[in-house]
């Protein structure tokens, strides 16, 4: 089982993840249309590119956009969850070690205590987001099964990962569950809302270009988010 999950299945998962997400980006860009979107893509490129980048970057900086300023708690949950799901796995000792064994390349890793702390923080954030979905009427009304799937799968990957790092004997159950769930996430990514892994950047770049090229960019107004 372990062999299969860390062998062929891992390759399949990565392939689906990367090829699938690349396809999503390709289809997104292909589906843009200057006249339907009413944005002169390809014209005023200096402004377009500058605002596309600004539009992405701003939202990755805490307290930059007005929205983050107004919603500091949600902002915190957002960053903690995404740090736990994106950065921690990339710099986790156990992950990097696997890659080193396979390919002989490696990079610096997070100290164990920090990885643990960030993972716990991400799990807490995920739980709080779940609470939010139930507790706040304005979020409850728009929440769908799909949103629960995305949130719970993320939480499950984090939790099983955490437990597999800290299990006291008891075999490989947590490790196997962690790998299987993480692979499920990778495979689901292109076909579900996890596609925002890439489409977030596409969407933000597009609205940045929209403002940069057409809505105010020419007037030199700074970022308006």
């Amino acid at each position: 089982m372990y062999q299969f999950l860390t062998g062929p299945m891992l390759w399949i998962s990565f392939a689906v993840f990367f090829v699938g997400l690349a396809a999503r980006v390709y289809l997104y860009i292909k589906g843009l249309h200057w006249q339907m979107d009413r944005v002169a893509y390809g014209h005023f490129n200096d402004r377009g590119v500058k605002w596309a980048l600004k539009s992405i970057l701003f939202w990755l900086i805490p307290f930059k956009p007005m929205c983050w300023q107004k919603k500091p708690i949600f902002q915190t949950l957002f960053f903690l969850l995404h740090i736990g799901l994106v950065l921690v796995p990339l710099f986790l000792y156990a992950h990097v070690m696997l890659i080193e064994q396979a390919w002989g390349v490696s990079w610096p890793t997070l100290p164990g205590w920090l990885a643990d702390a960030l993972t716990i923080a991400a799990m807490v954030a995920a739980v709080m987001m779940a609470v939010r979905r139930v507790a706040l009427p304005e979020v409850r009304i728009i929440t769908t099964l799909h949103d629960w799937f995305v949130l719970l799968l993320s939480l499950a990957v984090l939790a099983t990962g955490f437990f597999s790092a800290h299990q006291q004997g008891g075999g490989d159950v947590w490790v196997l569950a962690h790998i299987a769930l993480a692979e499920a996430l990778l495979i689901a990514a292109p076909f579900t809302k996890f596609s925002h892994i890439v489409l977030f950047f596409c969407s933000r770049a597009q609205i940045g270009m929209d403002y940069g090229i057409k809505r105010g960019g020419a007037k030199g107004r700074g970022i308006v988010w």
Binding site: L27, Y28, I29, K30, G31, L32, H33, W34, Q35, M36, D37, R38, V39, A40, H43, F44, S55, W59, P65, M66, C67, K70, K71, F74, F78, R133, L136, P137, E138, V139, R140, I141, I142, T143, T144, D147, K193, S195, H196, L199, F200, C202, S203, R204, Q206, I207, G208, D210, I213, K214, R215, G216, G217, A218, K219, G220, R221, V224, W225
Partner: protein
Amino acid sequence: MPEGILCNKTPIQNEEELKRLLADTRGRQYYAEMQELEVDRDKLRTTLANTFRSRFKTWLEICARCGMCADSCFLYTVNQRDPKQVPSYKIQSTLGEIVRRKGDVDGAFMRHVMEVAWSQCTCCNRCGQYCPHGIDIGVMMGYTRGLCFSQGFVPWELKIGSGMHRVYRAQMDVTPEEWVETCEWMAEEQQDEWPGLEIPIDKEDADIMYTCNAREPKHYPEDLAEAAILFHIAGENWTVPSKGWEQTSLSMFAGDWEACKLQAMEVYAAMERLRPKRMVGTECGHAHRATVIEGPYWAGYRDGQPPVPCIHYVEWVAEALRTGKLKIDPAKRIKTPVTYQDSCNYIRNYGLAEIGREILSYIVEPGYLREMAPNKEHNYCCGGGGGFNGIGMFRPQRNKALLMKREQILNTGASMVIAPCHNCWDAIRDLEEEYAIGISWSFLKPLLIHMVEVPEHLKPKEEDEDE
């Protein structure tokens, strides 16, 4: 497939049809017919296939359902935080549903979509600023309006409005003859006070081609006179076209894209015919949006630019003050607490926030400006944008929508609101009528006229009369 005589899928084609629709008081028959109107599902499916593309598809799909957009929407706030007013909900339950059902929706559903599209969203685009994914519900709601229009589900007043553009190339029944007459009449009226003042019609190669809102010649011709006086004082070489003078577009509010194109092209044709250096439009937000920001796309200009550079009236005023073409008499500056209404269409959506403040720095005595909170790009819609002001059946909802602006204005403590936008101006007038909070409201032109210094050579020569 039953189609009403008045309420149907065919836009207004001629004056006769338009008059028939107008004669139907408050759209009584029109809305009765709409109850029976069926959806042409094949057509809806085809429209979606041709126009629903990756940007909207992605927006609907990746919406994280995080609810960040809720508080950004003034309609959510004024409606006691009704979850049904959350922007994401509004679009997912309308356009999202149409897309998921691949156009397989019925008349009752489309009537619901119509209500949401025109009474629960003013297309102010504010939510797009607060969405982490940059999802602009206002833009999608505009698209949804287009789907409604193509199926005949559009508020009566807006079917008339877009029909006006189709028949008269103006939002009201002002013919080119009437327009020219009004210009001549206004120029004549001013001769005593402003000898030599002209409203030059169809002058070629002028520096400025001025365009306006049909309401001005129709109901407030003095606005046109004021524009002429200010150009006269500033010594501008300007003109108005006999055709293509209307800058607004109710068809944009209606989602009648074909009429939008016809209307914008009419103005562009005037630009091409008269070759002005630039166009200056009147104090209207949606007019600027329609003719300058969106219009070039309807017209098919690949670079999204109108044939000649176009500026909003506030840009012209700021420039005239900056360069000294208009000089303000400091003694006549505004010395009552005053606030400024940022119009969504050219502030949030065109970056002119600082231009407004520059003007205020000339015309308001320091210390008397009371900014609204929030303001500039983050300001709330006046409450009547996107056609909301003009739709009779949604008047109660619109009146409720005014409450946000009421709060904002009251919090400033200002007794006067400067609103260089027809829609905002109307909304604030209605706000005062409805809630009587004791404010006055004004465009820039009448204020400027009263405080601008008149150069000696333009003053009427009084000694002539003595002789």
